[in-house]
Amino acid sequence: MVSMNAALCDVVYTNLVYQQLWTETEIINFEDVPIVCGKPSHRLTNDDNDNDADASNSEDIPSDGKEYVYPILMHQYKNSGFSMKSLDHIFSRLPDMIKRLTLGIVNDDGTVVYYFIYKGLRKPKKN
């Protein structure tokens, strides 16, 4: 199971570094929760521009520009077993300053897709 997690992290790591061109990327284990952490090559499109800062949401956006990616495997023909409990567990292991988790969903079609997850309610971006 652990080696499987490691392999999954490797897939996401490689994808982030060499397809998404992230920098300062590393794999960190928060106890039993492996996280690929790094800096996107450019501001993520979902964030608001600095000059149009959305005050109510801005505290959710990491100040050091780092994102925390949790890898998860998704098979077309298997259940993921992923639930809100899994999310509770992941967030319970992360330091409090991390408000935003990115799910890196590794599909069996060869792609990785990324989704932001916030605990609680989050408003959509303004524009």
Partner: protein, 297 residues
């Protein structure tokens, strides 16, 4: 000013929510959760709006019956909205079956029935009076003060007939008999709520989510069009964009359909709404996670 007055009056009483479409007294046999909560009184509709419940207008607008954009009374509520209003004490449930209505109509003594007739006759008389006055005013201005050949305060037979023919017969929104006949009928509000919730597990879970969001200040409306149970607005939907597409409530260890989450969040991104996953924890409280497309990958 007139608006403000009626507004204050409306706020002072509980709104009346009528449960349509089923026989509640049937007890457990019937599905109490499939009654439809409906409001007819515009004052009541205005009042619950101040409490954060907008509802959906479902009636044809008499003056503009050829479109579906602007609809009129009655107002239909989601069951969650109705339950919350009643539970918090902003509204009361009423339940009247058609046959009971007729019974109470037939049971009216002659005096009361006569009163209804008189009211109608009064209304007609008032309209006629108003029309006469109007007519005369017009005549005067038309003919000028100098014309004395025809007395200006006489309306001939034909005109009188036309005026009578043009009197407007209105179908009123609210009933003149239901409320008075129910006033003394005491319904155990808590019992109805329990009865409704008992029979529908999904509603029971979703109601916790609705309640939590409502207490956080959100207005909710039915969300199937956006792929959710609710669409949540940060204020009155008349003025504000919706922010959240809230999914059906689930227990926290229920598996998340990732494909569904992916298209939900994708859709959310394109319509500027966060995709919200509500779960009910062991204590029965609603908790949330918000999901949005990261914008890459």
């Amino acid at each position: 000013m007139e608006y403000r007055e009626s507004f204050t009056k409306a706020m002072s009483e509980k709104a009346k929510i009528y449960l349509v479409g089923s026989n509640l007294e049937d007890g457990d046999g019937d599905d109490a959760s499939s009654v439809v909560p409906v409001l007819y009184d515009v004052d009541d509709i205005a009042k619950i709006r101040e409490h954060g419940v907008a509802g959906v207008l479902i009636g044809t607008l008499g003056g503009a019956p050829q479109q579906n954009v602007f609809l009129g009374v009655p107002l239909r509520l989601m069951m969650e909205e109705a339950l919350w209003l009643v539970e918090v004490g902003h509204a009361v449930f009423r339940h009247v079956m058609g046959q009971d209505l007729i019974k109470s109509l037939k049971g009216l003594d002659g005096e009361k029935l006569q009163k209804f007739k008189d009211d109608r006759a009064n209304d007609v008389a008032q309209q006629l009076e108003w029309k006469r006055a109007n007519f005369l005013r017009k005549m005067k201005t038309l003919r000028g003060a100098s014309d004395v050949a025809v007395p200006s305060d006489v309306i001939n037979e034909r005109d009188e007939q036309l005026m009578k023919q043009s009197i407007f017969i209105e179908t009123k929104d609210t009933s003149a008999v239901i409320e008075p006949s129910l006033n003394d009928q005491t319904i155990d509000q808590r019992k109805i709520c329990e009865q409704i919730l008992r029979q529908n597990e999904k509603l029971r879970l979703n109601y916790k989510v609705y309640k939590k969001l409502r207490e956080m200040g959100y207005f909710m409306s039915p969300g199937a069009r956006f792929g959710g149970r609710y669409v949540a607005y940060p204020g009155d939907p008349l003025r504000y964009h919706s922010h959240l597409t809230v999914q059906d409530a689930r227990s926290k260890d229920e598996e998340i359909d990732l494909l569904n989450m992916i298209n939900g969040a994708r859709l959310g991104t394109s319509v500027k709404k966060t995709w919200v996953l509500p779960g009910i924890n062991e204590n029965g409280d609603a908790e949330f996670y918000s999901v949005e497309w990261a914008g890459f990958g």
